[in-house]
């Protein structure tokens, strides 16, 4: 194998609003290799790749492509340099054919500038044949192809555009085992054999181990190590590097004696955004209990929450509230039944950004601050001030528009909404995502307080420390199904990671 570098990144630093996301990371990609990139959620993988693709600009550091130092201006520039991103959510035009998608932006035209469809059709066929997928018809509409084939179309497009360094973000998330094998064969025999390289980002460690020549491990924005793939390397070694030694307890939990059962979920099946199916989920939540469901990103936690509040179809299974079967077909119904939902996506689903914070807090409990039609402002103000004081939020924030607040305070606003509306069952989806450490422990303190008020709490989180810190019961969702329950104290960090990554059976 050649040892020359296709591209190098040196001493890359990047901060977002006080959070140091990348701390002097170095990375080199050699010609014809597959470089695995692993790390926990928030370790900095995405940021690093965004910088490489020209979506983000680094605060400092050098990028060298083909021996020349380069500043990458925008995604299009990155593409011209041969850096080819294949994102998890594929960016194709669903209404256009395979051929039109592959050639988009580089159509072949004749002397009068007419498209030469036959030429492009032949080239598409050749390209697809090269990728061993000649079964794909170049004249088919992309929107109707299976996900795996869409991915191959995206790869073919990148090859045509002159891609040399392919960045694949969770490429196997939506693929079956056979499709995954097929993809790996294409990567090793078609891409790498012809001098192209691949950066392979995945949470599926066994796949990373199988396909990569070298593996980079990131943790907390640091490059921990670069491992040469070797026969004796296994998941345990990788997890050891990913997790590191010390774990500090930033999530205090107050012990609460649990009450009667509020919510029971039986054999629930639903689909995920990636097109997979999560089958036969069973668990129950009691008053005053925090049930944590954890698992890797994309495994279906968010979708479980959406199913519970009625924005995603329940494919099969039953919900029971107070031991009575209920049908939840809309959020209106879910809220009637006592559900409260704190979405993972604050900006898209959590807040009305133009509205004052106070008005965001009271949006689903206007009955309490009005006589059905007329708002009683004094009552609303008093309510807001009372709660803000209890949660040590400054009174001035109440009158500010939600978009002017920091991420942490925005999250408090969303949580306060659930407190105000007196929900019995509160679903928290990634409640501490993207907020600073102080706000994190504040939010987990609020969750603890809610459980003391005998609310039933369902915590959906891919942050292992958070789940270990505040949950009374832990379930682990993986692509093989749901494991658990593990009561508080029966799991430690490394064991949890082992279950998440599917390595515990060998432990």
């Amino acid at each position: 194998m050649a040892e020359t570098s296709l591209l190098e990144m040196h001493d890359i630093n990047k901060s977002y609003g006080g959070i140091h996301a990348l701390k002097g990371v170095d990375l080199d990609l050699r010609v014809g290799e597959v470089l695995g990139l692993v790390g926990e959620n928030g370790a900095g993988k995405t940021t690093l790749m965004k910088i490489l693709c020209g979506i983000e600009k680094p605060d400092s550091g050098r990028i060298i492509v083909g021996g020349e130092e380069i500043r990458i201006h925008n995604p299009h520039h990155a593409q011209e340099l041969g850096i080819a991103m294949i994102p998890q959510e594929l960016v194709l035009v669903p209404e256009m054919t395979v051929m039109e998608n592959i050639f988009l932006g580089r159509e072949k035209t004749g002397s009068v500038r007419f498209l030469r469809k036959n030429v492009m059709m032949d080239e598409t066929k050749r390209l697809l044949e090269d990728l061993k997928c000649s079964y794909i018809n170049p004249a088919d509409m992309v929107g109707f192809l299976p996900k795996a084939d869409q991915q191959l179309v995206a790869i073919a497009r990148r090859i045509l555009q002159g891609g040399k360094a392919f960045i694949m973000d969770e490429p196997t998330a939506a693929l079956t085992e056979r499709e995954t094998r097929n993809l790996f064969e294409i990567i090793s025999t078609r891409l790498c054999a012809s001098g192209r390289s691949v950066i392979f980002i995945s949470h599926r460690l066994e796949e990373v181990l199988k396909i990569s020549n070298r593996i980079c491990v990131l943790r907390d924005g640091n490059l921990i190590t670069v491992l040469e793939a070797a026969a004796d390397m296994d998941k345990k070694t990788l997890i050891f590097h990913m997790v590191g030694g010390e774990i500090k307890d930033e999530f205090p939990k107050i012990e609460v004696k649990r009450g009667k059962e509020v919510l029971r979920v039986e054999d629930v099946t639903f689909s995920t955004n990636q097109g997979g199916i999560v089958k036969d989920i069973n668990f129950s939540v009691h008053e005053g209990e925090v049930v944590g469901i954890t698992g890797l990103v994309g495994v279906g936690k968010t979708e479980l929450g959406q199913t519970l509040i009625g924005v995603r179809d329940l494919l099969s299974g039953k919900f029971f509230i107070d031991d009575k079967e209920v049908a939840i077909n809309s959020p209106v119904k879910a809220v009637e039944l006592g559900f409260g939902y704190v979405s993972e996506d604050r900006r898209e689903e959590g807040l009305v950004l133009d509205l004052q914070s106070l008005h965001n807090m009271t949006i689903n409990s206007l009955d309490q601050v009005s006589n059905r039609f007329v708002l009683i402002k004094s009552r609303e103000n008093k309510l807001g001030e009372g709660i803000a004081k209890r949660l040590s939020m400054k009174k001035e924030f109440l009158q500010m528009e939600a978009q002017q607040l920091s991420g942490g305070n925005q999250q408090k606003v969303v949580v306060i909404r659930q407190i105000v509306s007196n929900s019995r069952i509160i679903i928290f989806d990634e409640p501490t995502k993207g907020i600073d450490v102080a706000a994190k422990s504040e939010v987990s303190r609020i969750i603890g307080e809610l459980s003391r008020e005998m609310k039933a709490i369902l915590l959906l989180s891919s942050e292992p420390r958070e789940v270990l810190g505040i949950s009374d019961l832990i379930f682990v969702l993986s692509k093989d199904g749901m494991e658990g329950p593990y009561p508080r104290g029966t799991l430690d960090y490394e064991q949890l990671m082992a279950i998440e990554f599917g390595a515990h059976k060998k432990v």
């Binding site: 209106v332 809220v335 898209e348 959590g350 509205l355 059905r372 007329v374 500010m400």
Partner: protein, 318 residues
């Protein structure tokens, strides 16, 4: 803190107020007609017709929608009410006059509800749905009237909107009352709050478990009802119902709403801005009239106002 978060609003209000004052001063110096009582009555009546519609439009645009059918609504309401009075026996008695007006309001409200239903249940974009009802309602107005202007309404109806109370034209009083109610609805009621929230982030409101459909249909129904009040006032003032009345009224209403500072993308609405916008447009239009600028320039002006206001609005929101 409180004052600071509100100050941009006051700034834009100051701009509008300043423009109103400046143009009024200019016109009163430049033309001897401007300060005449008759001219003021004229301005007031014109503004009233537009403002009544614009109040409903503000609510609709704030909730992230739009209603292009209000002009046709004005015409259809007028025609149906006129037909009622012309065809029914004893139509000049007070109960029948009132019944006729109730019929008019019901017509407008029904159009609004139809809009709301098409938009909500069938998922058609608001502008295209109301574009369709605009065509259909205009067609119905033409059919019902056979394309003719209808005259001869009962005295009782004519006097509802014609004339003065305490020296102020009745349509102006109606418009002021409606504008005050509009300010109240947008700022002080649950409906107004929901309108802003739905316009700001419909997904969030849906996830919160709020019945969006009901609120949206209510909002379009109010918009339709107010358009029909405008239709009644117009018919009463002219003492005639025209099937092509209200043509382009939707553009006037949209123009004053966006000029007032309501965001066309929804989420931010100001009823006071709309009132000032209506005032400004009315005075400018009157100014063009008394300065002998042909009426045809009016259409040009409204279009320019809409474009400039949305461009400024798009910059402000980013």
């Amino acid at each position: 803190m409180f004052a600071r978060s509100r100050s941009p609003f006051f700034h834009s209000y100051l701009g509008l107020i300043g423009a109103v004052v400046a143009i009024s001063v200019y016109l009163s110096i430049a033309s001897p007609y401007f300060l005449k009582v008759a001219n003021f009555v004229n301005i007031g009546n014109q503004i009233a017709i537009n403002l009544i519609i614009a109040v409903g439009m503000t609510l609709i645009i704030t909730s992230g929608g739009i209603d292009l059918s209000v002009g046709s609504n004005v015409a259809l309401t007028g025609i149906l009410v006129a037909l009622f009075y012309l065809k029914m026996p004893a139509s000049s008695t007070v109960p029948m006059v009132i019944l006729g007006m109730i019929l008019g309001l019901a017509t407008g409200t029904a159009i609004g509800i139809i809009n709301g239903l098409i938009i909500n249940t069938l998922g058609v974009p608001p502008f295209i749905a109301t574009l369709g009802t605009m065509g259909v309602m205009r067609g119905l107005a033409l059919i019902a009237s056979n394309g003719r202007v209808l005259y001869g309404m009962p005295k009782g109806f004519e006097s509802t909107f014609a004339g003065f109370i305490g020296g102020i034209p009745k349509p102006v009083i109606v418009a002021v009352v409606i504008a005050i109610i509009g300010v109240f609805i947008l700022g002080r009621t649950t409906l107004g709050r929901y309108a802003k929230a739905i316009g700001g982030n419909e997904r969030c409101v849906r996830v919160c478990g709020i019945n969006i459909e009901r609120h949206k249909i209510t909002i379009y129904a109010i918009g339709g009802c107010l358009a029909s009040i405008s239709g009644l006032a117009l018919t009463s003032m002219m003492n005639a119902a025209e099937p092509i009345a209200g043509n382009f009224y939707e553009l006037d209403a949209i123009a004053v709403v966006v000029m007032g500072g309501t965001n066309l993308m929804g989420g931010k609405g100001t009823m006071i801005g709309t009132i000032l916008g209506a005032l400004l447009l009315g005075i400018v239009r009157n100014g063009l009239n008394i300065m002998k600028v042909p009426a045809n320039y009016h259409q040009l002006l409204v279009g320019i106002i809409i474009l400039v206001a949305v461009i400024i609005g798009s910059k402000r929101s980013r």
